[in-house]
């Protein structure tokens, strides 16, 4: 309708902005949305066949509208369309939604929007206040809203019912309307806290239904009734929840010790299943006749899991840690940094002969000096246990060797689980970082919370400094450069280890060198630099071309950089001149690694040696970022590119120098054949004697006059790697890392380590799932992993997304705990008969996956019997403890409903009263006049202890009345 009036709508628009009231504007907005959502015309619903088949599509939309001058309520339009699997559409004069009123397949849906439950509708639109605290309270406002809805429906011809939510949100009060050609259904609702006496039984409800219909016909057409009683089982007294909360005292006592710190607790502290709902349904009753009860069935309803209390998953507490630290930051952090700066101010004296177990001790003493023992948030035993767990090498009296530390901690597990750190960007599960994350998590939870975390971190940083100063490698880290696939903190620790390793090698080299043992050419000799030779150093600095030097990392720290110019002073300079090689051949070769295959030097046929080279500087990802930013900033001009190349040529120069030292008298051609073989082009030519000879030359690009390679070659002097200026300044890098560690706030720390904790949680859940073997959980875990890997690879993942992951993990845990609880309750393990056991197992797994499960064989089936027993036991307990038999009505009602009370007598008396009763009454009668069309009428009612609701849908003929 709205579409076919193009010119009018223009006019309409003008009036809209001048004279239309807020409500008229509201109506047109509603119409616009209905049009947008294509809800106009005959409805899109398809007839449903079975209730298991549909999927609920819930698409909430929010529409901002200013309505009224005093109450500015923003309304939110939500649409619920349930899509059914069956595709055949049958066309009828009355809207689908009205037919739905009578359709029984949608009765008592296990999980659905309340409007589905109350009216059996499959599609509808709800207009509700967008903000939770907003509410449409006054009756006139309700009416105004309802009439705007009515107008909007009339104008657009939309046949989808439109509801308005009124009163406070928690009351879930809706009124609405549905319009078809000449027919209209009004949806009304009553909601009370207490059930009025006359409505506690069926006849009272029938009375109100009939009077609402006001049917002119006599006798009234039959009213069909569907009933569902829900019983709730909350009393599980005879079953003890097997899991005990972790014993915190025992942990401190030391017996359980370190193990607690390596593992996350799992499961629920309390029984995760607090309620079992049993629903009995009489799907189709006609008044006055009670169908014999052979068909009745049990539905086991949903499980409401109790909020997991203390023993929730660790990672959520870690989130809390993350958050709470933001709040307490100021106070707490100031405290730590203060303490730390005090501690780090005077550079501690390196104590050379000190066993590692002592060092933990001394670190602690230092702390104690600065703060009283009594205010230390972590108790000594706990702290010791943790430190031993993190640094197992401290237990042995011998300080660690690099090799043993790294090898022990790298089990060759190429398994999928082991490589998960890749996905989470966390750290390997046997690494120090990972362990630290778990420990901090534990501390936060059991030992002093945030303060404990801060304390442990402080200890940790001290330990790191201690190790750096005393050349003890950090255990639990893979050797080699920082692994960029891990979290930054892990990279930083690896970086520190690199520094320690190099410093250690250098110090040892220095030691041995004093006794004139030069470890020289073997292995990593490149890092081992000779004795200081400061004076020469200065001289050399003058000699070497400044342009090359200035790009070296360690310009500022030249006193550490060594070069022996004594023997080379003369030759070094000459080597810069062309034709140098002749003099150079007399030099003693230095810094050879091994011979390069068959290659020989071009001018004298000596074998070509690959030199020992300096290893490239290890980089953590933040350093790398910094560097590439600097490089990118140079821009894309030719000068920029040149400068960039020059900045990166330190490594090339160093390699050339090493090469020259190892191959006295070599040419650039020799170097290129090793370094960039494709830039040496060999051709077979026939020489003057007619022989085939290989003739080689540099590639064109290497021959460009004064290109950077040539330039570098000419600058390079024959200096073996060990005497070169260091490309990597471990002292400076180590201090940078230590400073970085020291300034991390607990909140930062939590962020750094969260991936590790998530990683650990997923592993734990996976492990537990393996025991239970729940296929749906397997799938969810996989999803969690892919999801997390997407989220965690971004530099600063949003809190919301992190929370989501944690929530998913918690859910998985809940499912597993529930599975365990159910298995215990239904005694699947105890069941002796193979067949019954299988049945029970299937039943339990269905309970986990479906909202409702049909109890096959009802009370006579195996599962049914167990359920029955559970209820009876629970009932007996309450009966005996609480004499006042609380609710009588159900029996009364059943009597009223029909004959075979005596049959029921037994089951009723040993069963607890239902927690809720639902009834659906429906009929098809002409309304409002006898000659009107016969239209569907329906009334739903639900009665519980403190809630009474009537939801009526009454249709009337709008053409013939």
């Amino acid at each position: 309708m709205a579409a076919d009036s193009e010119p009018e709508s223009e006019v309409f628009e003008i009036t809209d902005f001048t004279t239309a009231s807020e409500w008229e504007r509201f109506i047109s907005k509603v119409e616009e949305v209905l049009n947008d959502w294509k809800l106009i015309g005959n409805s899109l619903g398809k007839p449903l066949e079975k209730k298991e088949d549909y999927i609920l599509h819930d698409r909430p939309f929010k529409m901002k509208l200013n309505s009224g001058k005093e109450h500015v309520i923003k309304f939110c339009l939500k649409m619920n369309i349930l899509i059914f699997s069956l595709l055949n559409v049958f066309v009828d004069v009355i809207p689908q939604s009205m037919q739905d009123l009578l359709c029984m397949n949608n009765d008592f849906p296990p999980r659905a929007h309340c409007l589905v439950r109350w009216y059996g509708l499959r599609e509808f639109v709800v207009i509700a206040p967008a903000a939770n605290h907003d509410a449409v309270l006054s009756e006139s406002k309700c009416n105004l809203l309802l009439s705007s809805v009515s107008i909007a429906l009339g104008n657009t011809g939309c046949q989808v019912p439109l509801f308005v939510q009124i009163h406070h949100k928690w009351r879930r009060m809706y009124v609405g309307e549905c319009q078809g050609h000449g027919v209209r259904t009004d949806f009304e609702m009553v909601h009370l806290r207490k059930v009025p006496n006359q409505y506690t039984h069926l006849s009272g409800l029938l009375d109100i239904f009939k009077s609402k219909i006001g049917c002119p016909l006599t006798p009234l057409p039959p009213v069909s009734i569907a009933i569902r009683f829900t019983y709730v089982l909350q009393d599980w007294q005879q079953y003890f929840w097997p899991q005990q909360p972790p014993d915190i005292d025992a942990l401190v006592g030391g017996e359980v010790g370190g193990l607690e710190f390596g593992k996350l607790p799992f499961g629920a502290c309390e029984d995760p299943i607090s309620e079992l709902h049993l629903a009995t349904t009489w799907p189709h009753l006609t008044e006055g006749i009670i169908v014999d009860n052979d068909v009745y069935s049990f539905y086991v309803g949903d499980f409401v899991t109790e909020f997991f209390k203390i023993c929730r998953r660790k990672e959520s507490t870690d989130e809390i840690l993350g958050r709470s630290t933001f709040e307490e930051e100021g106070r707490e952090i100031a405290d730590i940094t203060h303490a730390l700066s005090k501690l780090t101010e005077p550079a501690p004296v390196p104590i050379h002969k000190l066993s590692v177990s002592n060092m933990v001790h001394s670190a602690k003493k230092k702390i104690r000096k600065h703060r009283g023992v009594e205010e230390s948030p972590l108790n000594n035993d706990v702290l010791n246990t943790i430190l031993l767990f993190l640094f197992p090498d401290a237990a042995s009296e011998k300080p660690l060797d690099g090799s043993s530390s790294t090898d022990n901690n790298n089990p060759v597990s190429e398994s999928e689980d082991y490589n998960l750190y890749n996905q989470f960007k966390s750290a390997p599960s046997d690494s120090l970082t990972y362990k630290l994350a778990l420990c901090l998590c534990m501390i936060n939870f059991y030992h002093g919370g945030l303060k404990g975390v801060a304390h442990l971190w402080q200890e940790f940083v001290l330990e790191m400094r201690f190790r750096w100063e005393n050349n003890f490698l950090i255990p639990g880290l893979a050797s080699g450069p920082p692994d960029l696939r891990c979290c930054l903190l892990h990279q930083k620790l690896q970086m520190l280890n690199c520094c320690i390793e190099r410093k250690k090698a250098r110090d040892e080299g220095r030691k041995t060198n004093t006794s004139d043992m030069y470890p020289g050419d073997a292995g990593r000799a490149g890092d081992q630099l000779g004795p200081d030779n400061l004076k020469d150093m200065d001289k050399e600095k003058g000699e070497v071309g400044k342009s090359w030097d200035s790009w070296s990392d360690s310009e500022e720290e030249f006193f550490e950089c060594l070069s022996d110019t004594e023997e080379f002073k003369g030759n070094g300079q000459e080597s810069n001149k062309k034709g140098g090689p002749k003099e150079m051949t007399s030099l003693k070769p230095e810094g050879r690694l091994y011979q390069h295959g068959k290659l020989t030097l071009l001018h004298n046929g000596e074998p070509l040696y690959i030199p020992v080279t300096q290893e490239p500087a290890p980089m953590t990802e933040d350093l790398l970022e910094e560097q590439s930013e600097v490089l990118a900033k140079l821009g894309t001009s030719a000068e920029g590119a040149h400068l960039r190349a020059r900045m990166q040529s330190a490594c090339l120069l160093s390699d050339m120098e090493s090469f020259k030292a190892a191959n006295p008298g070599c040419f650039l051609e020799d170097f290129v054949r090793w370094y960039s073989p494709r830039d040496y082009i060999e051709e077979e030519v026939i020489d003057e004697k007619g022989n085939m000879v290989l003739k080689g030359e540099l590639s064109a690009r290497m021959k460009i006059p004064s290109n950077m390679w040539v330039e570098a070659w000419e600058t390079a002097k024959p200096i073996p790697a060990r005497r070169q200026r260091r490309l990597f300044d471990d002292t400076r890098e180590a201090e940078k890392v230590l400073h970085y560690l020291a300034v991390q706030k607990p909140a930062d720390l939590a962020r750094h380590l969260l991936p590790c904790v998530i990683h650990a949680a997923v592993l734990k859940v996976k492990e537990e799932e393996n025991l239970e073997n729940i296929s749906s959980v397997k799938k969810i875990i996989k999803q969690i992993i892919t999801h997390s890997s997407k989220v965690l690879h971004f530099p600063n993942p949003e809190d919301k997304k992190l929370e989501e992951i944690i929530h998913q993990i918690t859910n998985v845990e809940a499912i597993i705990a529930r599975a365990r609880s159910l298995k215990a309750k239904f005694g699947t393990e105890k069941c002796e008969q193979e067949e019954e056991k299988e049945d029970l197992e299937r039943f339990v797994s269905c309970l986990l996956e479906q909202p409702e499960v049909l109890v096959v064989g009802a009370g006579r089936g195996h599962a049914g019997r167990i359920i029955h027993k559970l209820f009876v036991n629970a009932h007996r307990l309450t009966e005996s403890s609480d004499e006042a038999a609380a609710m009588a009505p159900p029996e009364e009602e059943l009597k009223r409903m029909g004959s075979p009370e005596e049959r029921r007598q037994n089951s009723v008396s040993d069963f607890p009263p239902p927690a809720g009763r639902e009834l659906i009454l429906r009929t098809t009668v002409p309304r409002p006049a006898p000659y009107s069309r016969a239209l569907p009428q329906r009334m739903y009612s639900v009665l519980t202890k403190e809630d009474f609701r009537l939801a009526g849908a009454f249709s009337s003929d709008t053409s013939f009345f």
Binding site: E32, V33, D58, P60, F61, K62, M63, K64, F108, R111, A112, H113, C114, R117, N132, Q165, H168, K169, W170, R172, R228, T230, H277, G301, D302, V304, L484, R485, T613, M619, E621, L624, E625, S628, L634, T636, A641, R644, A645, R646, Q648, S649, C651, L652, D655, Y675, S676, R678, A700, R701, M702, I704, N707, M708, W709, K790, H793, G916, V942, T944
Partner: protein
């Protein structure tokens, strides 16, 4: 000019030394060819804005040195790249054989797995071809890469290669970030938390 750029993409060019990585880049960014282009030291960097399907994308292209020795540095530049161009020289089989090594390295060091890879066989203007086009195709198919043969010298396929790569990146969801703003009536997709008052997906009877 920067105002209407949809996104900035990081692209990396890798491959054995002397296969023409820098030449391809120079042809693409400056539309020139220099037969005597110096061997790259470390990494080099160029920027170009291109328009694909009406979307403007700013490309930050990192050109790397192919020498073994420099290779210890390049993996670090893989970080955060959305696209990688892997180049070989169709006139030198050894550069094609080494592709496996490069892919291994990519796999090891790439921080994300949805990165778009393109294989480029360069120098097709030369006569002494050693690697057949079909071989390149087969390799690309096996490793799910884009494939094109090109010549930086004659300009064949160069523009196309970059455009194709960018298009693919833009089509890959989640590979590049952008804020999608709703226009007009604000219909925000909103998830209702439990206890939001109105019924969310599920209401039990009680």
């Amino acid at each position: 000019m920067d105002e209407d750029v949809l996104t900035t993409l990081k692209i990396l060019i890798i491959g054995e030394s002397g296969v023409g990585k820098s030449s391809l880049l120079l042809r693409f960014t400056d539309d020139t060819f220099d037969p005597e282009l110096a061997a790259t030291i470390g990494v080099d960097f160029k920027v170009k804005t291109i328009s694909v399907d009406g979307n403007k994308a700013k490309l930050a292209i990192w050109d790397t040195a192919g020498q073994e020795r420099f290779r210890t540095l390049t993996p670090s530049y893989y970080r955060g790249a959305q696209g990688v161009i892997l180049v070989y020289d169709v006139t030198r089989r050894d550069t094609f054989v080494k592709l496996d090594n490069w892919l291994n390295e990519l796999e090891t060091y790439c921080t994300r797995n949805d990165i778009v890879n393109m294989l480029v066989g360069n120098k097709i203007d030369k006569e002494n071809r050693e690697v057949d086009r079909n071989e390149g195709l087969k390799f690309a198919r096996k490793h799910s890469m884009l494939f094109i043969e090109a010549s930086a010298k004659t300009c064949d396929g160069v523009q196309c290669a970059f455009e194709e790569l960018v298009e693919k990146i833009i089509q890959t969801p989640g590979l590049w970030e952008s804020e999608n703003q709703n226009k007009g009536v604000k219909l925000t997709h909103r998830e209702e938390g439990p206890g939001g008052g109105a019924c969310g997906g599920y209401c039990s009877m009680l």
